[in-house]
Symmetry: C2
Subunit: 355 residues, 2 copies
């Protein structure tokens, strides 16, 4: 029921020496274009908060409302609206371009400030004796997009982050339609960046990403808007996350094949346009290290070429402060068995299917 | 068996809005001076790596060998040898004094470098365009102590971090004796700072801390050495961790009552000298946030006055980047029930027991 967590299986083991030192339980759903569950490991019916994984869904109204065209937004501005960015100069420039094209000012951003995810830029700010600002917040592009929508719809931009504001009502309606769920006010939380986040089942989240991937079950206009947003991210993978980060590595190496997006508290999702498949992972304890490893293992099994693009992530080595290998992150027996039961596109590609 | 994790109960829930967003499973053992388990929640017989929680045990040979007296080490140098320090100037000074009194040089430290835990000092290093050095490693005091021991024992300091070196053999023997366990080479891992760490049951770890607390089961010389080390930490709580960190807050507010020490991957331990009790917590997924919350809840129940010293930690509020309260860390029903069954010293103190 609401929030109760049942006994999800261990998905990821963390070893040290020859022992398992820690482990991570969780759930994962893989849904095909027809809405069928190809994989359901753990409790995929329990409501979970999708957090930043649904930023592309939160950005759809920017296109559907006509705001993107009215303000002449380019692909970098669309990509940054879907981003959990690192706060490097390239990201700040994209946010500022988005705001400038809409005639807005960054003082309107309600996301709050945090040190950039980018260590390099954090170091530069510290070296200059500066503090981070709202534009460095990894969500500032999403917020800039929401402000642009508010303006285009003739709404007061002030308070755009509040649940009752028209922009958030629209986001709620779109997520509800794409994922096929009712979003109850009782299951609302406030995200790290102060906008609402609604809890719903992991299977529905994966189904929403399958619809993003295939366009099935969406209006032609919405399917086109989703393709346009994903295309903007494929064309600007560094804007969606940042150098060295998983979603950038994936979309740089597998553009067109995998639209990938992580969220706080152990969420990771993907839309696979070529296969019409959606993926969603939630780690029960919220650990990013486990969500990313489970997600990389799933992609390596489902997507041709992903094993090479993700070779570094799949090694899962834990190194200590002197660079010695002291342990590893690896699939649990339960996850290994589930992966083995999935179709292998690398094998399928080598043996042409009779048509 | 080795490393297999059974179904430990959920100890800590992480809420957002009215839902549980994430949770943390784990085990905890509370052992009295007679070695009796007052509380055993989860699998307390499974081997776990104690990591930095046993730094005081690793520092005992420094006193027992006579090195501390031979080099004229004061309480700050003893406290820093037991520390996971923040890397502030006060910590670096204590490490350097320890090294200087032994006639050693910080170039011998084998712990590797990482940015200081202290954000303030990290910012200062970054501002100066500098990189962190081995002395900033939170374990540098422990390593300095090990180097001093090696020198005093007439051993080659080089390679002091290796499992086969006399210093590590001595540490292994002492932990084995105090906790009453065989430390098998097959259950050895390499710690973040490159010294060996041996896995053994959580119940034995709690028993070791109960013996530190009471001195029972230890030789008079070892019991005195343990009292001297804990006294050095009570006199210098900021050296053992750093400003704003849990172990410093505890030992500053509850000096004499609680010797507290955390370790990586969700470990937290305490010796309660006034009660002769030892406590050990391991969070299965390794999360520090959960280990600290569970540990604070245990102390608040067991130690008079701890609820006031730990008031901030016990609120468990999760705030977002704008400072809004969006959720909380709280005891699970299983942990709440276990806490309710423990004796309450605050109540006991209010009603004088008949003697």
């Amino acid at each position: 029921m609401t929030g109760a967590m049942h006994d999800d299986p261990i998905l990821i083991e963390v070893t040290r020496g020859s022992l398992v030192e820690s482990n991570h339980r969780g759930a994962t759903a893989v849904v095909d274009a027809d809405g069928r569950l190809l994989l359901a490991l753990g409790d995929v019916a329990r409501p979970i908060f999708p957090r930043s994984a649904v930023k592309a869904l939160q950005a759809l109204p920017l296109i559907e409302s006509g705001a993107a065209d009215a303000f002449g937004l380019g692909e970098p501005e669309l990509a940054i609206a879907c981003a959990s960015h690192s706060g490097d100069a390239i990201h700040l420039a994209a946010v500022r371009t988005l705001l400038a094209k809409a005639g807005l000012d960054e003082s309107l951003l309600a996301c709050g400030a945090h040190w950039p995810i980018s260590e390099r830029t954090t170091r530069e700010l510290m070296r200059a004796g500066r503090s981070p600002e709202a534009i460095h917040n990894n969500c500032s592009g999403k917020h800039a997009g929401m402000l642009a929508k508010a303006l285009h719809l003739g709404l007061d931009p002030s308070g755009y982050e509040r649940p009752e504001h028209g922009v958030q009502e629209e986001v709620r309606r779109i997520i509800s339609e794409i994922c096929g769920v009712e979003l109850e006010r009782a299951e609302m939380g406030i995200d790290g960046c102060s906008v609402p986040t609604f809890a719903f089942p992991l299977a529905a989240l994966a189904r929403g990403f399958a619809r993003l991937a295939s366009g099935e079950g969406l209006s032609p206009a919405r399917a086109a808007a989703a393709r346009r947003l994903m295309g903007a991210c494929f064309a600007n993978p560094v804007l969606v996350a940042g150098e060295g980060r998983l979603d950038t590595i994936i979309m740089r190496g597998l553009a067109g094949s995998v639209f990938a997006k992580g969220g706080a508290e152990g969420i990771h999702c993907a839309a696979l346009p070529e296969l019409g498949i959606g993926i969603a992972v939630k780690i029960d304890d919220g650990a990013k290290r486990a969500a990313e490893t489970a997600f990389a293992l799933l992609l390596a099994k489902l997507v041709a070429g992903a094993d090479q693009v993700l070779a570094g992530e799949l090694q899962g080595q834990i190194r200590n402060w002197r660079g010695l290998k002291v342990g590893e992150l690896r699939a649990s027996p339960a996850l290994s068995a589930a992966l083995a039961a999935l179709p292998n596109p690398n094998v399928a590609a080598a043996v042409p299917a009779p048509r």
